[in-house]
């Protein structure tokens, strides 16, 4: 399949492009919609909202989730909020301002037209979610409340306590449940997509594995939407849920979908540090804590005293020292790298010396414990539950962790991948965040794609297929792909080595974190590129999967996902090595200013790298989509 990076950006001035698209798009009339079948894989914010809306419109929709219920997707764990350019606070917000903040926050590596559309539909999302019964926080007068978030000078973030992701996902899930109840959407739960089937140059369907019975089956459709989430678990330890994986996107990539900007990964600065070697995941503490907490490490690397016994002049409040104007509120990427430097220099705190202090002692003195409890009580409780330490008495310990991936399947303006008929939505695509995502923008993008973009753009493609036959699952290509998937899983069972998949995942995660984490350089990346294939070989000969493949087998499920993480990990390192600049979440230590800040190279790297699978994970083929800016101008981010 040839890679054609036509972004299909509509004509007209930036602010009119989306309306122009809607005015000129091809539609499918209501009576014809039922002739089309659409498969949606994944039921997070993007998948559930897409499946529900397409079902409402009258298409035959089949939704697949590998969870027991569509409500479990990891969108549910988002804490902070969702941005929208409502300007309810009258503080000067507008669609243009949200658009601009998002482009700038993404370090000028996102596609202008997509980001502008995101800002335009953001206002519709809030209307829609309120109509569906999402209990957003309100003022005493009954109007919606907003809070401010990093990277913006206005208050445009809508929230539902610290559980905004949960409330939005449940809203989308309820709309989906309604369509399932009405029979417009067929739900397949505990079913994992394991491959994509292309016939005659278009996506014809998918192959799935039933996680209850181990049975493989084929499903054909006119169009397929992948909303399968991000790949942050490639690091093994991340704030992602345990089952989050890259398999959906990766299998599509291997069948011809270009994978864009894999090296753009976001490391969140305020997570609870790893406590021991067998830790399974990391927990995020909301960034809002940095409003009142002060970050420091002891000046003496051999400090053994308790935090409260370390005198003021022996503490290094390094963020306040290095970034006097933003201090403890420096952006995510900047704060994360600074913490890493302190820990690498041996000044880390805690039993494993792998964290930095986030200290509320001064805020408690100034404001009183009650005020702090009111602002952050639930977060303090959560911290105490996990660590057993009381943050009212001893400072919290925090450390950065992998949190979100901006890279993903390349999509055009209509969210179609390089495989015709295969769409990609939400975190799984690369579209809107450039090299760095701003807080409260992930929920916005997932819902934008699912509710307000895909339902419009998909008819453009479907209308061409009206009353034309499409291949069903009896086509030989389905049988071939299904047989390949079956053999792959039988292969994992047959290796009969000595180690379970978690062992290999952990080892892979260490390589990726050490060489392709917060701070990258050519030597390290080259080292990773030689170590990953060696470990992958070991995986292929020493993996052990017990149990049966005709029954629930979580070890086998994990083996398939880890296998795909190996190949993705290679591509991440390759992409990071190629991108000889620092931008957003991608920091190459060779490319920094004299003051240690990210140094972008707009002359040579203002493009999207879109990789083609060549059949050999060591030699992917790079394609480039040049980013053309019509409205914004490049500028350097500074937080000093």
């Amino acid at each position: 399949m040839t890679i054609n990076l036509d972004s299909k950006i509509p004509d007209g001035p930036l602010a009119d492009k989306w309306q122009n698209f809607i005015a000129n798009e091809k539609l499918v009339n209501p009576a014809n919609k039922r002739k089309f079948k659409i498969i949606v894989v994944g039921t997070g914010l993007a998948g559930a909202s897409a499946a529900a809306t397409l079902g409402e419109l009258g298409y035959q929709v089949e939704a697949f989730t590998f969870h027991d219920s569509p409500r479990r997707a990891h969108s549910i764990a988002a804490q902070g909020g969702i941005n929208a350019a409502k300007n309810y606070q009258g503080d000067g917000d507008s669609v243009h301002r949200l658009f601009y903040d998002t482009i700038k926050g993404g370090d000028f590596r996102a596609r202008e037209a997509n980001v502008h559309r995101l800002a335009e539909v953001s206002v519709d999302i809030i209307d829609q979610m309120v109509a569906q019964g999402v209990p957003f926080a309100r003022e005493y007068g009954g109007l919606l409340d907003n809070r401010s978030f990093g990277g913006a000078q206005v208050s445009r973030t809508f929230y539902a306590r610290g559980q905004t992701g949960q409330q939005l996902l449940i809203g989308a899930y309820q709309q989906l449940a309604r369509q399932i109840g009405l029979g417009n959407v067929k739900l397949w739960n505990r079913m994992e997509m394991v491959d994509v089937v292309n016939i005659d140059g278009r996506c014809a369907g998918i192959v799935t594995r039933d996680l209850m019975t181990g049975e493989f089956s084929s499903h054909s459709a006119h169009a397929v939407v992948l909303a399968t989430g991000g790949y942050g678990n490639v690091f093994y330890l991340s704030t992602n849920a345990m089952a989050c994986n890259v398999t959906g996107a990766w299998r599509a990539h291997r069948r011809g979908a270009a994978f864009a900007n894999p090296c753009y990964t976001q490391i969140h600065p305020t997570c609870i540090p790893q406590a021991d070697d067998f830790q399974s995941k990391l927990t995020l503490m909301s960034e809002s804590l940095r409003n009142d907490g002060r970050i420091w490490v002891p000046k003496n690397p051999d400090e053994t005293r308790r935090a409260d016994q370390v005198p003021e002049d022996e503490r290094d409040y390094y963020l306040e020292r290095i970034y006097p104007s933003f201090g403890n509120l420096a952006p995510r990427d900047v704060s994360s790298r600074a913490a890493k430097r302190m820990v690498d220099a041996g000044q880390g705190v805690g039993p494993l010396k792998n964290g930095v202090y986030l200290d509320f002692a001064e805020a408690i003195d100034r404001l009183g414990e009650d005020t702090i409890r009111e602002r952050y009580g639930n977060l303090f409780d959560m911290y105490e539950r996990i660590t057993g330490e009381n943050p009212y008495e001893v400072p919290m310990r925090i450390y950065p962790a992998s949190h979100y991936t901006m890279g993903g399947l390349w999509v055009d303006y209509e969210l179609m991948t390089t495989i015709p008929g295969l769409y990609c939505a939400g975190e799984a695509n690369f579209s809107d965040h450039g090299a760095n995502r701003l807080g409260a923008s992930a929920l916005m993008q997932g819902l934008s794609d699912g509710y307000f973009v895909l339902p419009y753009t998909i008819s453009q493609y479907l209308s061409e297929w009206l009353n034309k036959p499409i291949p069903d699952t009896s086509h030989e290509q389905f049988a071939k792909v299904q047989a390949e998937a079956t053999d792959r899983f039988k292969g994992y069972m047959a290796i009969g080595g000595t180690r379970g998949p978690d062992h290999f995942h952990r080892e892979l995660g260490k390589i990726i974190w050490d060489y392709c984490g917060m701070d990258r350089n050519a030597t390290g990346l080259e080292k990773a590129l030689s170590e990953i294939p060696a470990l992958h070989e070991e995986f292929k000969t020493d993996l052990k999967v017990t149990g049966s493949d005709t029954n629930v087998n979580q070890t086998l499920e994990k083996a398939g996902r880890v296998d795909d993480f190996f190949e993705l990990g290679m591509l991440m390192c390759k992409d990071a090595l190629n991108r000889e600049e620092s931008c957003g979440g991608h920091f190459r230590s060779e490319h920094q200013t004299d003051e240690g800040e990210a140094l972008r190279n707009d002359d040579d790297f203002a493009y999207v790298s879109a990789w083609e699978w060549s059949g050999d994970m060591a030699n992917p083929i790079e394609h480039k989509e040049q980013l053309e800016y019509e409205v914004v101008h490049f500028q350097t981010r500074s937080y000093k």
Partner: protein, 256 residues
């Protein structure tokens, strides 16, 4: 940080929905008190795999108490000994060296065991599909600030909406009732102005769907005690009133 020693896990194993279940004992010589309870199971599973034995199947995902995937009766308590916490939020420091810990799946007629500690909670989805939504197709929504909602109303709705759908309420109930789950969804939507149009239809449909699968509520209150989100049984009173009203009068009058 300290270490717990000499723990015994008595874990329920069952090959499939129709299989005969049994308890299996596993010794844990030592474990850090920093480990979470599910990490203890991870470690045990890695050991089992290396010994060539089948890993213990259990549901889990986010491991921060919000997705509602994890379950487990730990020493007879749904989600274990800590109040207001899901199983994934239980840490080993809650236990003592030498403890014997009994681990079972949710036990309820409506939740058949799939394998080992994994159960089928799909009936909860069926209740939502019957009416746990507001009919608001995409695209037709008015401005979000058009209808002010008093803060106490929005807060009360949010309290109920915090439900994570884990099924602990059903597992803790001696009758296997799903009244706390169902009433939490009804309170979430029925308290909001947006939910009024379908209020009584919703109550009737959801309660009757619930009754197809689950036992009846007899006000034990175990559900509230087990709920990891501490959802109040006051919601059950709201549900009962709305259900009664839905049957009490002519619906055309009620909807006015």
């Amino acid at each position: 940080m300290s270490t717990l020693t000499n723990l015994t896990l008595k874990i329920w194993r069952q090959d499939g929905p129709t299989g005969q279940g049994r308890f299996e004992s596993h010794q844990i010589p030592e474990i850090s008190d920093e480990a979470s309870f599910l990490e203890l199971l991870d470690i045990l599973n890695e050991r089992l795999i290396e010994e060539g034995k089948e890993a213990i199947v259990f549901d889990h995902d986010c491991r921060e108490g919000i997705c509602g995937t994890c379950s487990l009766m730990i020493d007879g308590q749904a989600h274990g000994p800590s109040k207001g916490a899901a199983t994934c939020q239980i840490h080993m420091r809650t236990f003592n060296s030498g403890d014997e810990i009994v681990v079972e799946p949710w036990r309820a007629a409506a939740f058949p065991v799939i394998k080992d500690l994994m159960v089928d909670r799909a009936p909860l989805d069926r209740i939502i599909e019957a009416g746990g939504y507001i009919t608001a197709p995409t695209g037709g929504a008015p401005d979000a600030n058009l209808i002010p909602i008093p803060k106490p109303v929005a807060d009360a709705s949010m309290d109920a909406a915090a439900c994570i759908g884990c099924g602990a309420c059903v597992a803790a109930c001696p009758n296997g009732a799903a009244s706390l789950f169902t009433s939490a969804k009804l309170a979430h939507l029925n308290l909001l102005p947006q939910g009024q149009a379908e209020r009584y239809k919703r109550a009737e449909a959801m309660v009757e769907k619930m009754d197809e699968y689950f036992g009846s509520c007899t006000n034990h209150g175990e559900c509230q005690a087990a709920c990891p989100k501490e959802i109040s049984i006051d919601n059950i009173a709201i549900m009962n009133i709305d259900y009664l009203k839905s049957k009490f009068k002519n619906r055309k009058l009620l909807d006015r």
